[in-house]
């Protein structure tokens, strides 16, 4: 189901991207027709793609091109170009399901694995905002709505069964990216995989402990089992705080190249895990001038509000938009309202349980796996960083082992304050 570079694919450069875009009329006119006035910068900081910022006198665009290999690992780690197609397909569905919360797509070229889209400005990556201690008033509400709308409307509660089954089959083709998640999130951190790294020697003992922690490893593999066989809805698939761009009054979700039909909790948990990680990292960001305590509390408030908004909007959509084949109105009438409400509550309880488990898996891999995050990496002093990282691992362990017992977002927050708080 994967594909490799075809004859029509060639890697763009800051020069050739101009030649390419000048022939795409809608993009050229948006930038300004005189190509000599365009400037191009390659701004990608990721692993997988080239990202060109193309600025003209009239406007700016992003041109994102998939590379046929994992950038950081060189050409020995091929990654299917088809992920650009799946990202594009996911973006079009997200735009329909959660209007205005993704960048507008201006042009897509499947052969070139290239998507040209709206340049978001003055947006910054949420993760960078969290490291800098910036509050975003709309964040929790916007992300809660995004989660509820994309996840509900991509599920059997909303979609026609035939359409959903065809879409599941389509996105099953994004196998190469699912394999990356399966390896990087659920597997490699728990054995001696080549690219694992951690703050050493401070965490050496903790890592050894994790590798012999049977209960923890089993719990992670229970989450992996769900990742591979619970096709509840179309997921973003990589919804960490690096996939969110924010301003004071706008929130956009970018980069759904890992999209596939999976468990709703994987998207919810990705956000939740990144909030909790950012919360714990605050003690490492603290300075004499700014203890970051108020900001830490704000992050936890956002985590709880994101869930609450998700839950409320999901309930709202269940009551107003149940157009799929589950719990149809010709079978479930007003007299059944109490029972269907309990079914909805049980469903959301299950999503929460999954979210907690996936959040924990995602937190741990950022400390002991291959791909780390700025929240922790920006803490220069290794002892101080390691102290935060130990709290991340300890909280993650409690979360995943107690995921069935935690009955609401407030329980998660309480546990986080208990285990994740600085001394």
């Amino acid at each position: 189901m994967t594909e490799s570079a075809t004859d029509n694919y060639r890697t763009l450069s800051v020069d050739s991207v101009v030649d390419y875009l000048r022939s795409v009329e809608s993009v050229a006119s948006l930038l300004g027709d005189n190509v000599d006035d365009w400037s191009v910068n390659e701004i990608g900081d990721g692993n997988l793609n080239l990202v060109f910022l193309v600025q003209g006198p009239n406007g700016s665009v992003i041109a994102k091109q998939a590379l046929p290999y994992l950038r950081v690992r060189g050409e020995g780690w091929p990654l299917p170009l088809s992920r650009a197609f799946f990202e594009y397909e996911a973006l079009t569905r997200e735009e329909k399901r959660a209007e205005g919360m993704t960048p507008q797509v201006l042009h897509f070229d499947r052969d070139m694995a290239l998507t040209v889209m709206e340049f978001l400005s003055p947006h910054i990556i949420l993760r960078k905002g969290l490291v800098r201690g910036i509050q975003f008033p709309r964040l929790a509400n916007d992300l809660g709505l995004f989660l509820a709308r994309t996840l509900f409307r991509g599920s059997d509660f909303s979609m026609n069964a035939a359409d959903k089954r065809a879409d599941v089959a389509l996105f099953a083709g994004n196998d190469g990216l699912c394999a990356v998640t399966e390896a990087r999130v659920f597997t490699e951190p728990y054995f001696d995989a080549e690219l694992n790294r951690w703050t050493s020697p401070q965490l050496d003992e903790v890592v050894a402990g994790i590798r012999s922690d049977s209960m923890l490893k089993v719990a992670v593999h229970e989450m992996k089992t769900l990742f591979m066989s619970k096709s509840q809805s179309l997921l973003h698939g990589d919804l960490h705080s690096g996939s969110v761009m924010v301003t004071e009054d706008d929130t956009r979700v970018i980069d759904p190249e890992f999209a596939f039909y999976g468990p709703m909790g994987f998207d919810v948990g990705a956000l939740l895990g990144n909030y909790l990680l950012a919360y714990i990292a605050q003690s490492g960001q603290a300075t004499g001038d700014d203890d970051r305590i108020a900001y830490s509390n704000w992050i936890l408030k956002m985590a709880e509000e994101t869930w609450t908004t998700f839950e409320n909007e999901f309930r709202n959509l269940w009551h107003t938009e149940r157009t799929g084949e589950l719990f149809p109105s010709h079978i479930f009438g007003d007299d059944d309202a109490d029972a269907t409400e309990r079914a909805l509550t049980n469903y959301l309880k299950d999503v929460l349980e999954d979210s907690i488990g996936f959040a924990a898996a995602k937190m741990m891999r950022r400390v002991i796996g291959a791909a780390h995050v700025e929240d922790l990496e920006s803490i220069a002093d290794p002892d101080r960083r390691a102290e935060c990282e130990k709290r991340v691992l300890s909280l993650a362990r409690s979360l995943i082992l107690n995921r069935k017992e935690l009955s609401g977002a407030s329980d998660v927050i309480a546990l986080t304050r208990e285990i994740g708080a600085r001394d």
Copy 2:
């Protein structure tokens, strides 16, 4: 994802099937080369297909051809011919995964939606054997092994993730047949659908009660939710006692045209539900000469043994054949054995819970939905039949509402003796 009749499809008759098969060398030589010595009978009693028994001097074959519409409903109910392809694909996988338990396929023609296969003789359909009161010594063991081997080896415990994802996508194309199950099993019995029927007036009140039984309807839709989004393994998809052919010393599973990747409990539950239904129907089969009490007990013993064999073989395969990406041996060693064993037990507990829920849904639809079964239909006296049917409905309700609390097959049998036994 469905397809309709192509230019290369034509419905066969007892005459044209001979013309067709004479040109298939392997089949012709098996039957005997002189076509004049062949005899053909159309023996299909199903809804969906033509089934020709072609007998020659040297041997016999079955030629099964899909019809482009639901036979009993006429040409107004189209059904995709592609199901013959999915049946063929499922048969090849089942033969590999549970060797010797399916009919041998001799020839497949996708355009003609035609499969030519081994004629099983002196096998009879299990359902007919259960109605006649015949014991089959190998039945429970064979079916338990079939379930464990096909379900384990079609899951992420065994398959390579990429292969499984591609196969999930392939079988998502069998949408038309999944839609039949969704409608016929989970939906139509619970509202005033056109083709529902039941023993009337005896069951009128009971049916009205079911339609206003909120808890029951919710439970059935919880099972439907799992049917649509829990892609654990490749299922047979229609594993009732009419899909099993038996002799004293052989057991074969036929007709996997409903195959798709779904919850393991759907196959296990189909068999379980049909055992329980057959058990309850025995009181209707009883005569002055034969009270069928011993046979009733034998059926319950088979139900329990089928589960026990399934569970034991599933555990065995888990320990000896875990070649997939879940719980790999480079992460889980001997020190983790207790924890992984608990994970396996929890997984099987979940399969049991699903099996009980699906068994119940399948039992109910045979009494109040469109498609009934000989076990009950053969009870000529409507009062006597209705008495059995009420017990079927009552047991099914208890099973589905208590599916989380029943902790083993023996609990299911005990509940069946309590609620399902004749007065």
